[in-house]
Amino acid sequence: MQKITRDILVEKAVSLLENGTVCCVLGWKKGEFDYDVTPALFESKEEIEKDFVYDDFCGANFSKYLVKKTIKAEGKILVFLKPCDTYSFNQLLTEHRFDREKVYAIGIPCEGMADINKIRAIAGDGISEIKCGEKIVVDTIYGDKHEIDAKDVLLERCINCKSKKHVNYDELLGDEGEVIESNRFDEVARLEAMTPDERFAFWQNELSRCIRCNACRDVCPACTCEKCVFDNPKSGVENKAPANEFEEKMFHIIRAFHVAGRCTDCGECSRVCPQHIPLHLLNRKFIKDIDSFYGEYQAGAEVGSRAPLVNYTTNDLEPSEVFEGRGE
């Protein structure tokens, strides 16, 4: 359950909208069911009061929307940012992707978001109602009722939450949290410890499911290119479908490389992948390597910080030393 209620956010949004501080509000909109929340741009008090939600299904990170929405907006946009969203927000500012002056950012606390796939695995088909309270209570049309501990159905990124701290905001609602010592690299380490054949099989299996729908890229706050290399016939890597294993790998290697040092590990790619490919394990591999090769670096922690791939020291690790002490 989220500590901050929908009503507080609605009240805030309405007052800022009515006093003219902002011209519109980026928020989560009620869906058809209790879990299919959609990001939406609210422009009136009525819309907000009717459809605004904030519950355990508000995973969407709004930072990226600011790139396009701030250009069009007449005034400031109110955006609600969970702690992890603020890192993406900062990274986009570092890259000059939107005008900070056109945003009114409210930091809101987050207790972790629920993964509907995990709920479905427990509750089965025909979910008719989900109540997010102390427990997540799920009813189905088949008459089943499940009381689920929210901790058991968290999104992967929330299980490994790296920070409850907001690194950028104009106003903070609720209490400020701390940066957390997470175990987010454990899974990467587990893969690293596999034999090459096991690991090869693992990735082969995962990446073979890719349908190149580009959801990972299109949701990624680090992927804001005007023209993506994968859409550009002149880039040499453009393709609309993964024709074979090579193209599956290439897409994900290049994508991870392009966001390396800029990826804040917000986890949106894995959250939206329709094929449930653990894409965060590619991004985290780069983050883990960067931390161990060049010192810890959290993209988005500070506006204007120099990303590791546009930086160097004269005594950096040599590529030949990457595998030293990492036996086969």
Partner: protein
Amino acid sequence: MQRIGVFVCWCGSNIAGTVDVVAVAEALKKEPGVVFSANYQYMCSQAGQDLIKNAIKEHNLTGIVVCSCSPRMHEATFRKTAAAAGLNPYMVEIANIREQCSWVHKEMPIGTEKAIILGKAAVAKVNLNTPLVPGESPVTKRALVIGGGIAGIQTALDIADAGFEVDIVEKKPTIGGKMAQLDKTFPTLDCAACILTPKMVDVAQNEKIRIFSYSEVTDVKGFVGNFDVTIKKKARYVKEELCTGCGACTEKCPMKKVPNDFNLNMDTKRAIYIPFAQAVPKVATIDPDYCNMLKNGKCGVCSKVCAAGAIDYTQKDEFIEEKYGAIVVATGFNPISMDKFDEFAYNQSKDVITSLEFERLTNAAGPTAGKLLRPSDHKHPEKIVFVQCVGSRCDACNEKGKEYCSKICCMYTAKHAMLTRDKYPDTEVYVFYIDVRTPGKNFDEFYRRAVEEYGVHYIKGMVGKVVPEGDKLIVQASDLLDNKQLKIEADLVVLAAAIEPDKSARPLATLLTASMDTNDFFTEAHPKLRPVESPTAGVFLSGACQGPKDIPETVAQAGAAASKVIGLLAKDKLTGNPCVAHSNEMMCNGCSSCERVCPYGAITYEDKEFRMPDRTTLMRRIAVVNPAVCQGCGCCTVACPSGAMDLKGFASEQIIAEVDAICK
């Protein structure tokens, strides 16, 4: 579609010995775009080049591939050949089938196969080549010289002499620099003032030269040919244009106890002062740290005595923005501080002095009016010990001094010793040295005269300690040649302090994006072949800011730097290397990744309005590469995630085409 000609060179038997050149030419004929193919014994010969020229004309070739030696050898040759036949020189690609094929592979079939593949890669690349035209940028025909010592003066005079405008920025109230403080100059012993001050006057009178004295450079923007420089004119509280330099104020100022830095604080001056009689500009300056009027508003004497009405207590620092085509750094040197050298008792005894202080003591315009008197009791010293290499040639681990040789000390010490003995034959002079280094015209002769004609005691060995005892200085030293310890009761000890770059050089280097070595000397573009240029285009080096130098060397380098500047300013336009980065503004995100990796600061950003396909307009931040500054490394092309940044001549598509051709 290109019309490509392939020219396979035999290089006598160098290539033809292990590569079947006929087979290569035949195989490449089948490649897409190739309409002509030939082989010849020596493509680089006149006949070979004529063959290429004729083929270009006859077959309307749009690009050529020469399969020959390394492009490092003859790329320029064949580009000229192409240009002579009316083909853009950048439509030429070389397949290196000699150094990287025929010379490293022994068997004909292997060499031939590889040569064909290398040829195919070059053909694949040429297919994607586009004619390149070097970018042009205008040149502002004015130079800036930073530093008004002999280096800066000479550079400015030489540039002005060629008809170009020059500005000198000097942080002190007068130009002249270190040379103005010297007495005589080695090895000819002419008086420094006699040869320097006429040059200073020349500078003042030259219509092409402006002097910004008591001024500093605070900002530098732009690039070769087009620098925008901000100069801070510090408030001197005297209107330069009104001051006649009569000196009335400097005589009447009641504040008499201002340390006189021109005389290395061995005497005092007034709070309003003119550093020395021949100062240029000869204008008074008020030292705000001592002036009562400026400190607490009480006094105003100078203003009252100034007939010209030049005094202005309200003057403020003034910032001037100027454009320059070239910048010469001539920031010079200083002796290092002796604070860390306690063993020589520099801070304990007034009679332990540095060589530059000695210069002032022997200078007729100095604190003692040229009489050699001890600073402590103004007595004539009867025994003088000179110590060489104080802080020079130290171990790398020695934090006190410098590793390098300061170069000028051996000669000026010989000069000091000789002049002392000449003027005061009753004075005993000892010189302690590690080595005496005298490589220079008439240098060794000069040193030998000091020893042989003037009876200076040269002792190989280092002084261990100087202990003040009563009015004497006990110098403990070792004589390495006689292998004995010495104890000399001296009246005066003169330390040949190492020299180091002026402290203002480091921040200036940052402003100029010019590189420096670990000792803060500016680095040259090439230590042997481009010794007066900095790696930053348009920035030149003159004098001791680049390394220790004596006056003749400094003047020589000043002239060399001037000639480089003149060469630059003589051009109306600069043409650059056309193989530079270029950003496709339609794809650029303005994310700054490219800018951050650019070593030359060639990338800037601008907000540009775009007309979108749906007929709306959109303001977007985009990267702009300055082709005059870009050196074409291509680092930005990889930093750019969208691929908006590409490198002309080495475009991603071209490199990928080469990869494909090699792998197929």
